[in-house]
């Protein structure tokens, strides 16, 4: 069953066509990879899915719902979580607070109950806290929960972003270059983490990544973007042998 369906997505920046009628269908439960050279439009595609950009043409539906007019914060409410290529954490908040902010969309306490500390606010707080701790344990940051986010190492910050995105219980998780800047042992851990997330949270993962080893190992399906167009889509083996992909991105190799 498809969870995300894009049809004819086109976006222009001035005269530049960043995305050119992109069609993409992602099935629930998949780990789906998007690869392509720099500037191919991968992050732009993420920004469209999460409502940051509005496409000039085309439609997106998420779990059967049309995403037209869905702004960034509403996309989170619908269950689309994401991380950023250039890490965007709340630097001067503690690690655990970063995760607690992540649960904003699924909680309901309002200004009055927060101001007065009404029972319904603190009952909710208890759940938020327990969940934040659980998520931090999962990504291996529990012992650092009181640190400021900007005191974490690069790899830790990436994992914290994942934990924050998971706090909203997303149905679809978008990972924008999750392995960037990680060393090889961190990458192995990251792969395990991604598998674990998919099993435990029963979600769909869409990821952009330049590390071909990681992408080919982890993804069940891959789409290749080049100059805003999808030039190939298929299983990792199909992509590896696809002529167009080899000539434009992977390069001829032994």
């Amino acid at each position: 069953m498809e969870i995300l369906q894009m049809e004819g997505i086109t976006l222009e920046f001035g005269g530049l066509r960043a995305l050119d009628s992109v069609d993409l269908t992602i099935n629930a439960g998949q780990i789906f990879g998007i690869i392509g050279p720099n500037g191919a439009g991968k992050t732009t595609l993420f920004n469209i899915i999460t409502g940051i950009y509005v496409p000039v043409e085309g439609t997106i539906s998420f779990r059967g719902q049309d995403m037209q007019g869905v702004t960034a914060y509403k996309a989170a409410g619908l269950g689309i979580g994401r991380t950023f290529q250039n890490i965007r954490l709340f630097n001067k908040l503690s690690v655990i607070d970063n995760v607690r902010v992540g649960s904003h969309a699924i909680n309901r306490s309002n200004f009055i109950s927060d101001l007065l500390g009404l029972p319904r606010a603190w009952r909710e707080e208890k759940i938020i806290l327990a969940r934040a701790r659980q998520l931090l344990e999962m990504v291996g940051l529990y012992s650092k929960r009181h640190e400021y986010a900007d005191n974490l190492s690069y790899g830790e910050q990436r994992r914290l972003e994942i934990a924050r995105a998971l706090a909203m219980n997303p149905a679809l998780l978008l990972l924008d270059e999750p392995a960037a800047g990680m060393n090889s042992s961190e990458k192995v851990e990251l792969m395990d983490l991604i598998y674990q997330i998919r099993e435990e949270f029963n979600l769909t993962i869409l990821l952009v990544e330049h590390d071909m080893n990681l992408v080919m190992q982890i993804c069940e399906r891959i789409a290749v973007l080049n100059y805003g167009r999808i030039i190939a889509e298929g299983t990792p083996d199909e992509i590896k042998t696809n002529e167009a992909v080899i000539s434009s991105y992977l390069g001829a190799q032994a």
């Binding site: 999460t50 940051i52 702004t71 960034a72 914060y73 996309a75 989170a76 409410g77 979580g81 994401r82 950023f84 965007r88 954490l89 709340f90 630097n91 001067k92 908040l93 503690s94 655990i96 607070d97 607690r100 902010v101 992540g102 904003h104 969309a105 699924i106 909680n107 306490s109 309002n110 200004f111 927060d114 101001l115 007065l116 500390g117 606010a121 909710e124 707080e125 938020i128 806290l129 701790r133 929960r145 009181h146 400021y148 924050r164 995105a165 706090a167 909203m168």
Partner: protein, 291 residues
Amino acid sequence: MDAILTQYIDAYYLRIIILIGINIILALGLNIITGVTGQLSMGHAGFMSIGAYTAAILTMKFGLPFWMALLAGASLAAFFGFLIGIPTLRLEGDYLAMVTIGFAEIIRVFFLNFEPGGKAVGLYGMPQHTTFTIVWVLVIIVILLNAKLLESRTGRAFYAIRENEIAAQASGINTTRFKVLAFTVGSFLGGLGGGLYAHYMSYIAPQDFAFMKSIEILNMVVLGGMGSIPGTILGTIILTIAPEMLRIVADYRLLFYGALLVILMIFRPNGLLGDIRIYDIRKRWFNRGVN
């Protein structure tokens, strides 16, 4: 309570203590807008004047009880805070600062021409309802509610907007709504402080709420540490007392005041108490509370 205090404490010191209390309320309001949510507002005196004039007119000309007048003044200021919050949806940083300066100036010029407010002469003869007890009971209530708010879902949304607006949106925070909310709450406190001020000084005039007053309040927040309640309180105490201490150097007062700020900013660029929040203190010193 107040009668006893006036017997044992010199009137001059009592006056400073009361002004510290009023300033804490004003500064904590601005702290929510600028320190916590990160929306640079340089027009806090505008909200203060709305609260001051509204409360003064209500007690003097309509004979309303003091607490009702205070509440009305603060609420009207909050309403204007809500209105001024709306442009923040489009503006950031310096541009927002300019709009808030402009807003405060419009308010000041309005009162300069406002017949019931005595125009340039101002209003005088308000009953001195503001006492030590009233001010400090309100200060304690404001601090407690402020602390509660800042460690809640709403408070975290405020901080998140300051830290990274795009990430805040990606976390499901309606940044528009929370920015306007921050302005509304912050200006409510501005109006409350204004009402207390009017009924302590017994005299208010448009020039009391000029640009320098806004800067003075902003200094308190910045000096103490943006977003920190203990910091804002400390900054307020220092900057309320400093001008008094500097009376010794008479004509060079402003020079010293400026130098003090420059030195503090060099050695503590994040403000005296940086990012120390009340619940950090609870956690570190008493090893209890949140996490």
